[in-house]
């Protein structure tokens, strides 16, 4: 394992997309890793100027410690290994993640996992806006992978996601699952305005009835969606996550929509 410790707090954005198992493995030695380029504001600098770096990358594991809330783009395009972060972390974490695991013990800023196609992200804290969202104008959001968030998320969660599974154990902001093409979102806290707006297909599973459902969604009955049992069993067995007991074997109220699109998406609200 290779351990990075932030030497002192940074105030300006530190662009550190070089922090990924792929790039570290490519660099090889600690010496060469610490010479990888980062941008501090407009200044091109070396990773080693900001981090104390020790260990070896051979086992494909990275641990980063410190207040990384201004450090951006960590784990970009990573395809294997484990990247563990102890501390808050800045924007664009795990952009384009293809494989491997990213584990955060802290909070994550906006734009988590844009363009993700595979791998696992586990955040033991809160996440900002536009988590797993499509870039502006992009037709598709994330195309795969599993994202587990133990805390809350901001607005525009999972915008236009094409595939993948997102679990939020606490609240989600407005427009969660807007424009979802397919995939599954679990939101186990409160959800903001207009969940599932413009969704084509896909599923949003809610523990609580949302404050409002858009006019373009239609109430579509109550039933027992056995796939929920399957999903929570799968997720609980494979990841450090525990769903509310109430969810298992429960009846759900189903809203189908968005009828402005295909109307083949669903919002499932867990019933007592």
């Amino acid at each position: 394992m290779i351990v990075l410790q932030l030497k002192e707090r940074v105030f300006l954005p530190l662009e550190a997309e070089v922090i990924s198992v792929d790039k570290f493995a490519e660099a090889g030695s600690v010496d060469r890793i610490s010479k990888l380029s980062v941008f501090y504001g407009r200044d091109k600098m070396e990773l080693g100027e900001f981090f104390k770096i020790e260990g070896s990358i051979e086992d494909g594991r990275i641990l980063i410690e410190g207040d990384l809330s201004k450090v951006k783009r960590i784990g970009k395009d990573m395809s294997w290994g484990v990247l563990e972060i102890h501390g808050d972390v800045g924007m664009h974490l795990a952009e384009g993640l293809r494989g491997g695991k990213v584990i955060v013990k802290g909070n994550v800023s906006d734009w988590l996992a844009m363009g993700m196609s595979g791998g696992l992200i586990y955040v033991d804290g809160n996440v900002g806006n536009l988590a797993c969202a499509s870039y502006w104008g992009e037709k598709r959001g994330i195309t795969g992978g599993v994202v587990l968030i133990n805390g809350s998320v901001g607005d525009d969660l999972g915008r236009r996601m094409r595939r993948g599974t997102i679990v939020v154990m606490k609240d989600a902001g407005d427009f969660a699952g807007a424009g979802v093409i397919a995939g599954t979102l679990f939101i186990m806290g409160k959800v903001g305005k207009a969940p599932g707006a413009e969704m084509k297909r896909g599923t949003i599973v809610l523990l609580e009835e949302p404050s409002s459902i858009l006019p373009s969604f239609r109430y579509s009955g109550e039933f027992r969606p056995y796939f929920v049992d399957f999903y929570i069993s799968y997720l609980e067995r494979n990841f450090p996550i525990k769903f509310p007991d109430k969810l298992r074997g429960s009846y759900f109220r189903r809203y189908m929509g968005d009828f402005l699109q295909l109307g083949k998406g669903e919002i499932l609200v867990c019933l007592d």
Binding site: L12, D174, K193, A194
Partner: protein
């Protein structure tokens, strides 16, 4: 001296028929302009800013030198403003941003920024204001109050004028105003629809749903479904309809989603009849700032050059966010007043940074800036291009001389000095 067809450099209407009377090198009279425009012309020499460093009056040259020192040293500068200056100056601001690896944002991010975001997502059917005048038989103002913000809009473009195909003028048009409160603009409307604050998205959603044949009852966003149904009927019966969207959509909860819904409604209406959307842009050249940003960087606002190429991220490189997160170490303000216009939390951080303010007039920003560089007022003391809210470029005029250089010139000198070239004052 009577100067005709002067272009008013205040709002996005960019009225170009103003008459200005100049005597003894000063503006003595204004005709045709709205009350705000009159005030702009008549008072343009009041409350002017002075060149200063740390509140101490100095020369323009020294102020420029000090600005250069700051811009040279700092690692991440925010360049902000741009909407009230000429294309020529905006171009230079971008060149500077590219040169020093800055973030550059313009006032649209707290104005119609969400409209741009929505256009990324859906596209926009739009038209010039002359099309409104000539064709529009139904006009909808959604979340905008032209009679206070764009005073001559009704008169010149959207409601009153007789057009080629709307020969009766006002009588040939239906005016619908949608807002959260009654306004002077809504009082002139044939139909006023009062929406509960923050629920415009739901109302637009309901309209779109009904357009697709969906059935609803009760009320949506505080509006009875029957009312919406009749609005939809009016929209469908239009030959050429235009929705003007304002801050009522972009600033409220839902933001770009609200605009996306409005754009989608218009797009979908085009399968039945013709509809366009025009954004009620505030500052006279806020459209232009977006235009230059787009053709030089590909993006309309919130662009960062730290890595040597343009990157776009509203919510990250937008001014309010950069300040709220305090991710910059200096701010260059061009023709804008963020201290007065930004939310408190952003202003607090702004006050802790070195500010360079380029502005003809005193503002809260110039009052707290480290360096103040006064300039000639575009459209009165210097000419340049400005883009009307509908993207029509118009040459704004020089009527009077100024003792100060133009924004363009100041920026050009800053760039030259940073590049190590000396340029004559």
């Amino acid at each position: 001296m009577k100067v005709e067809n002067v272009v008013c450099p205040f709002c996005g209407c960019l009225c170009d028929d103003v008459i200005v009377y100049v005597e003894d090198g000063a503006i003595k009279g204004v005709e045709k302009a709205c009350s705000i425009g009159r005030s702009l012309f008549l008072k343009h020499r009041e409350d002017l800013s002075l060149p200063s460093i740390d509140g101490r009056e100095t020369s323009i040259d020294e102020a420029i030198n000090e600005a250069v020192n700051i811009l040279r040293d700092k690692k991440h500068v925010l360049i902000y403003g741009l909407s009230s200056t000429s294309i020529e100056a905006q171009r230079k601001a971008l060149e500077l941003a590219d040169l020093i690896g800055a973030s550059i944002d313009q006032t649209t991010s707290i104005c119609h920024g969400p409209t741009s975001l929505a256009i990324h997502q859906t596209g926009i059917p739009t038209c010039t204001l002359g099309e409104v005048k000539n064709r529009a038989d139904v006009v909808v103002f959604w979340g905008s109050n032209p009679l206070e913000a764009h005073q001559r809009h009704y008169e010149r473009y959207s409601l009153i004028p007789k057009g080629m195909f709307v020969t009766e003028g006002r009588r040939g048009r239906k005016l619908v105003v949608v807002d959260v409160r009654p306004t002077p603009s809504s009082r002139a409307a044939d139909i006023f629809i009062q929406v509960r604050p923050g629920e415009d998205y739901e109302v637009l959603n309901a309209l779109r749903y009904m357009l697709k044949g969906g059935k609803l009852d009760g009320e949506v966003g505080g509006v009875k479904v029957e009312t919406l149904k009749s609005l939809l009927d009016i929209m469908l019966s239009a030959k050429y309809g235009v929705i003007f969207i304002g801050m009522g959509l972009t600033m409220t909860r839902g933001k770009y989603h609200n605009v996306e819904a409005a754009l989608s409604l218009a797009i979908e209406l085009n399968s039945h009849t013709r509809w366009s959307v025009v954004a009620m842009r505030g500052h006279y050249n806020v459209s232009g700032a977006g235009m230059v940003l787009l053709w030089q960087t590909g993006f309309p606002m919130a662009v960062n050059f730290s890595l040597g190429y343009p990157r776009y991220s509203p919510g990250e490189y937008s001014a309010v966010d950069l300040l709220r997160r305090k991710e910059v170490d200096a701010v260059l303000v061009i023709a804008s007043d963020p201290v007065a216009n930004f939310p408190r939390e952003a202003v607090r951080n702004l006050l802790s940074l070195p500010i360079i303010a380029i502005d003809p007039k005193r503002s809260l920003t110039t009052m707290v800036a480290k360096v103040v560089i006064p300039t000639a007022k575009v459209g009165i003391e210097t000419e340049g291009t400005a883009y009307r809210m509908d993207g029509v470029p118009i040459r704004v005029k020089k009527i009077l001389n100024s003792i100060y250089p133009s924004d363009e010139e100041v920026l050009d000198r800053i760039i030259a000095k940073i590049k190590g070239e000396e340029r004559n004052a």
